[in-house]
């Protein structure tokens, strides 16, 4: 089988001070080109660890990740990450944060003025052109995530990795950004792997939802296809039976079969 992105029998053990903890156990997942896949699971089950392995920031203990049938071990701009806590460089302006990525990734393929235009284009995609000369400390949390997304998109990644991109935002900003991400996915057709712990967010945005069991030694418990047509509208879906069924399935998985164990 040749998938676009393949996570192949990945195990991950962390060894610290002689004690070994198994975080991921035999995780396998295939993602097709252009698909939007969410990974959902309780806090601490190893979602970030899995995403970092795909990003190349962490090495798998066994198994590996294949992108277009080539093994990827090191981080690179073909798997751009939007981090859990925005990770903008505070000493650079919004424009310079994106420009740093553009300059690095497109140095040989774009001229100076093209890189400038490409930076502005990506800021425009996330509607942040108006704040381009501000520093991260001067903009809101939602705006920071937008800039983080613009920075990732500007790298023209093969796979876009989102680590709870809206986790720290209030509900309204969150909904607004979810709509933006959906619109961008519709427009650009990126392959996206997104971590979330929000059931509605997962169902609304994804083509497939990967549900992870609780750690230690978390596994993929279940994979759910979301057969909703795009473009999706938040309000129309509220009463849609397919939507409600999918939601129900995920909720059951998370809160009945794999309830969060306090002690873990």
């Amino acid at each position: 089988m040749t998938s676009y992105l393949r996570i192949d029998h990945v195990d991950k053990n962390f060894i610290r001070g002689g004690a070994e903890t198994k975080v991921l156990s035999d995780v396998s997942l295939s993602v097709e080109k252009g698909q939007f896949v969410s990974i959902i699971g309780h806090s601490g089950c190893g979602k970030t660890t899995l995403l970092n392995i795909v990003a190349g920031l962490t090495r798998a203990s066994t198994g590996g990740v294949l992108l277009e049938n080539r093994e990827v071990n090191d981080p690179g701009p073909d798997r751009a990450v939007v981090f859990q806590n925005h990770s903008l460089l505070p000493w650079l302006t919004v424009y310079d944060n994106v420009r740093l990525a553009v300059d690095k990734v497109h140095r040989s393929t774009k001229s100076r003025s093209e890189r400038h235009a490409w930076t502005l284009h990506n800021l425009d995609l996330v509607q942040m052109t108006h704040a381009k000369d501000k520093r991260p400390a001067e903009i809101s949390g939602g705006m920071k995530q937008r800039v983080g997304i613009a920075r990732a998109l500007a790298m023209e990644p093969k796979v876009l990795l989102l680590d709870e991109p809206f986790g720290a935002l209030d509900a309204l900003t969150r909904a607004h950004l979810q709509d933006s991400v959906m619109a961008l996915h519709q427009k650009l057709g990126n392959t996206v792997l997104m971590i979330t712990h929000d059931v509605d967010e997962a169902v609304l945005l994804s083509d497939r939802i990967v549900m992870m069991t609780n750690g230690p030694a978390a596994q993929i418990g279940e994979i759910l296809d979301v057969p909703l047509v795009r473009p999706r509208k938040r309000l129309e879906l509220a009463g849609n039976t397919t939507y409600l069924k999918c939601r129900q399935r995920v909720l059951e998985f998370l809160y009945e079969r794999h309830r969060f164990v306090e002690a873990a």
Binding site: A55, G56, L57, D74, P75, G76, P77, R79, A80, V81, F83, N85, S87, L89, P90, W91, L92, L100, A101, K104, V105, R135, P136, A137, M155
Partner: protein, 298 residues
């Protein structure tokens, strides 16, 4: 990450990064006249207290040193004795008989050279120690021992090595101010958030780009803390070193005045030393404020 041996004196090595001091803005007054009065009052509130305190100190000093048998001159005597030096800091009668400006500028030049060298080498070594565990294990114990050696203890050794006063003084400045720069830089590099390293990894920044675009700006508040301590120590060391090596310089000026029992000149020189040291500190702090604008708040 735990940082063991690098920083056993946190109070000295890590001051919190210098941040902006925000004051609550009082409601903007309607009339520009009252606004001007408010600003004037603000300035007065800052200037008047130190003026009063200085006046009091001078008064007490005058009273104490006017008495019969006082060993030190009162301020009125100091000013009368040194009036020529105060009014004409630029005279140059050749040899060591120069105005205070020339002495201060000779000292400042030595400090500038030694301190510049210490900054460059200190930041480079600090980066190495902060970045590589192996370098830290190897170098840190040596640094911790050497940095406790008093500045002047280096002087005989450097005189023996360089056989000349000028490079020896510069070396003493260098060796005195380099330790806080190394240690603070290393702490700053160690404290670079993993997030920034991840960003750099995803972008595949090469080591040189990583150094200039991530490390230096991220560690800048720490580096400048070290640079500020360093400039203070440099100025402390130069005065002492110059007393011993001689030649033109404010330290030698003080020693010379002592040898010819011109106590008033010593007092004048001390005032200048204090003011120059204060200005040097302010300059480095000002540069730090401009450079770390973005880093301080995140």
């Amino acid at each position: 990450m735990n940082m063991p041996a690098v920083n056993p004196q946190p109070a000295r090595a890590i001051e919190p990064p210098i941040g902006k001091v925000l004051r609550l803005q009082s409601q903007r007054p309607k009339f520009s006249l009252s606004r001007a009065a408010a600003i004037g009052g603000d300035i007065a509130a800052r200037v008047i207290p130190p003026m009063i305190v200085i006046a009091l100190i001078v008064l007490v000093w005058e009273v104490l040193c006017r008495r019969q048998g006082a060993t030190l001159p009162p301020p009125s005597r100091v000013i009368a004795d040194t009036w020529d030096l105060i009014t004409d800091p630029f005279f140059d009668n050749g040899g060591l008989d120069k105005g205070l400006f020339w002495h201060l500028s000779a000292s400042l030049q030595r400090v500038a050279q030694g301190y510049a060298l210490a900054s460059i080498v200190g930041v480079a070594l600090g980066t190495l120690v902060g970045q590589s565990t192996w370098a830290m294990r190897g170098l840190d114990p040596i640094f911790q021992v050497l940095r406790t050696v008093p500045p002047l203890a280096w002087l005989p050794l450097s005189l023996a090595a360089f056989r000349d006063g000028q490079p020896s003084a510069i070396f003493v400045i260098f060796i005195t101010s380099i330790w806080p720069i190394i240690i603070n830089t290393a702490v700053g590099i160690r404290n670079i958030p993993q997030d920034y390293r991840n960003v750099a990894a995803v972008l595949r920044l090469n080591p040189l780009e990583f150094f200039w675009k991530i490390m230096i700006p991220s560690a800048a508040p720490y580096i400048f803390t070290g640079l500020r301590i360093g400039i203070g120590l440099s100025w402390l060391a130069i005065v002492a070193a110059e007393m011993l090596i001689g030649g033109v310089g404010i330290g030698f000026f003080i020693w010379d005045a002592w040898n010819s029992s011109h106590i008033s000149e010593i007092m004048l020189a001390l005032v200048y030393v204090g003011i120059v040291g204060f200005v040097l500190d302010r300059i480095v702090a000002g540069i730090a404020h401009v450079v770390t604008r973005g880093t301080a708040a995140s």
